[in-house]
Symmetry: C2
Subunit: 423 residues, 2 copies
Amino acid sequence: MTAEEKLRDQGCQAKAAGARLACMPTDIKNAALLAVADALEHNAGAIIEANAWDQAEAAAGGMNAAMLDRLILDEGRIKAIAADVRTVAALPDPVGEIFDMRTHANGLVIGKKRVPLGVIAAIYESRPNVTVDITALCLKAGNAVILRGGKETIHSNRVLVNIIHDALTRSGISPEAVQFIDDTDRALVPVLLHMSDLIDLVIPRGGAGLIKSVKETSTIPVVAGGIGVCHTYVDAAAKIKDAVAIAYNAKVQRPTVCNAMDTLIVHQAVAEEYLPLIAAEWAQAGVEMRCDERALAILSGRPNLKLAAAEPDDWSREYLALIAGVRVVDDLDGALRHISAYGSGHSEAIVTEDYSNAQRFLNEVDAAAVYVNASTRFTDGAQFGLGAEIGISTQKMHARGPLGLKEITSYKWLVYGSGTVRP
Amino acid sequence: MTAEEKLRDQGCQAKAAGARLACMPTDIKNAALLAVADALEHNAGAIIEANAWDQAEAAAGGMNAAMLDRLILDEGRIKAIAADVRTVAALPDPVGEIFDMRTHANGLVIGKKRVPLGVIAAIYESRPNVTVDITALCLKAGNAVILRGGKETIHSNRVLVNIIHDALTRSGISPEAVQFIDDTDRALVPVLLHMSDLIDLVIPRGGAGLIKSVKETSTIPVVAGGIGVCHTYVDAAAKIKDAVAIAYNAKVQRPTVCNAMDTLIVHQAVAEEYLPLIAAEWAQAGVEMRCDERALAILSGRPNLKLAAAEPDDWSREYLALIAGVRVVDDLDGALRHISAYGSGHSEAIVTEDYSNAQRFLNEVDAAAVYVNASTRFTDGAQFGLGAEIGISTQKMHARGPLGLKEITSYKWLVYGSGTVRP
């Protein structure tokens, strides 16, 4: 078999296993997830050993410390991954919900039933925990999964998938429901992305380059996102104390994630008062501020600040670091125009006590999540009540914002007749 | 401006107009739709004149009578199109619905608000009524639309769009919300399908070739379907009289549409009794039966039947004509296997009085609509309670089955805080 044939064969196995998984009772799926969680902890030694191999190869290849940290698995992280799997097991099963059912004038009883999507392919980079997270969510929602991790974690992923396969087999679920592409040849990715007869959804998780290339290549529907160029707008009517706390939290609480703030926009009427306050707080956390002319004029000369003049392409940058763009605008319209021009449709916040301005912001900003008087750091499946998330979508089709279990399902229409024909 | 630049410019206009339309009050949208309906009737003469030009060119190009009939517009059809627009005006506005809103443990009030998708591009063939239908549905749901009809109706479409533009302008809605690609150069379609920064959804409507090519080319999400290889399975426990009425209706009531039956599957235990009955009914309607060996053995020699031996590729054919495949199976499993192998995931029916078989069929058949004891001809937006439809999806992402107004919307998450930050 060529590598392409092997991949297609994996797709066929996944489709068949997915069809069986779609009818699997909830208690069997949950027991299998708990078995996976136990097995991960039980086999922590083997995982850490394989992971050390990945780390050694990455270090030899010159990977930087931040990236290297993302691929490390230790006892603590393995326990956390197992805990996440148990959380998924405890969530309600989305499959089988019947909704919108009613009797129609044509005599038919028509409704919808929630069903799994079928087969989900995940293409992702670095963090090996994604292997387990995505698998747990897909299985719980009755989907088979095809995993294509990065080459930097191939040893860890191989061991993790073996552990998952064993636990599934012992739990009465076919291990064919979890397919792992144990081949890092990049030429296989386009082949995978054209298997639209076997795969129902592709989820890319990684950098902007990966996501763009998957969207452009795939003939299978893609749900993508995660790129967050997020803004916090401090309105003239903001409570200044709240605005400091919110902007500080949005930038500093966890700067490396997609819902962290990238650009702070401030109404001119409060800029003189507000900017020195947030700048002083940020300075203590080591935040660099890339300012427009008006912000720079206000902040220049103050001690201990990391100030720079913003370059034009800074406004569309997702920093994932302790850096923030800072811009002063004339009014709410200026803020809305800036967000419309540079936002990525992820999470956008206004800080204001003005009712009409809050309403305008919520109505007019086109993003997955729009906030009044809160930090954008809340855009997250757990915080939004979904229990867990498989990703965050910045597109409008299918699902927007955090994707939980329900968002990796579809529905079918059920039609009950009694010899009913169309006149 | 080159044709490509003009197309991009149209995309930009649509995006800007869509953003304004997203906030448009329901009464203005409805008044605009009613103005469009009135204007269509008022300008019927000009439409018929342009349509005659299309007909003449099509006839000169050797178009067959069935295809030619699809592009004809006369007084009656124009009145019907106007009536459909008034129906859309009368439907509830999907935009602005707030749902799933509640107070979370983190102190935030979080919910979802239904919003337009933004810009929808429709690529379609022949029937000029699609120009008006899709425009009406898109406008009602707050979306801008980019129309790319076939060259065989370019004259009709041009006049229809002019009428729509005039009516919109008089109603206070920017005509830029309805963009018409007045250029039949096929090379522009791939350009359109790569404008993912300006277009949110592509809806192809036409034959299998068009849909396949759009899905393979587009980097924008596509909702496609409409191809229906639909089955009716007559179980051993069927009420024979119902089974005759249902199969007759599913094949004969309107054979040229996607929800019409293509293959009749019959349990061996009732084949001897049932097949001669449905064959006699179908014979009067002129239905040709393409039979497997067992069906042929039962039906051969009976008078007035149009019988043929089924070729292997008949099973995957969407006939859109008075032709039906006929197959006898050993049991329900045989029927399920046949549907799984050859169905297109559109509409599938079982006729049975057996509770468990009905449940198995509903659970195990993977299709947009699954029926018990009814004709598949009901798979339709109006029949399913959506009021109207923009198409029928046979994919599982975003929406499945008939697509109404709600299915061409998205949602945004609304988050209300009170100075709330993430711990």
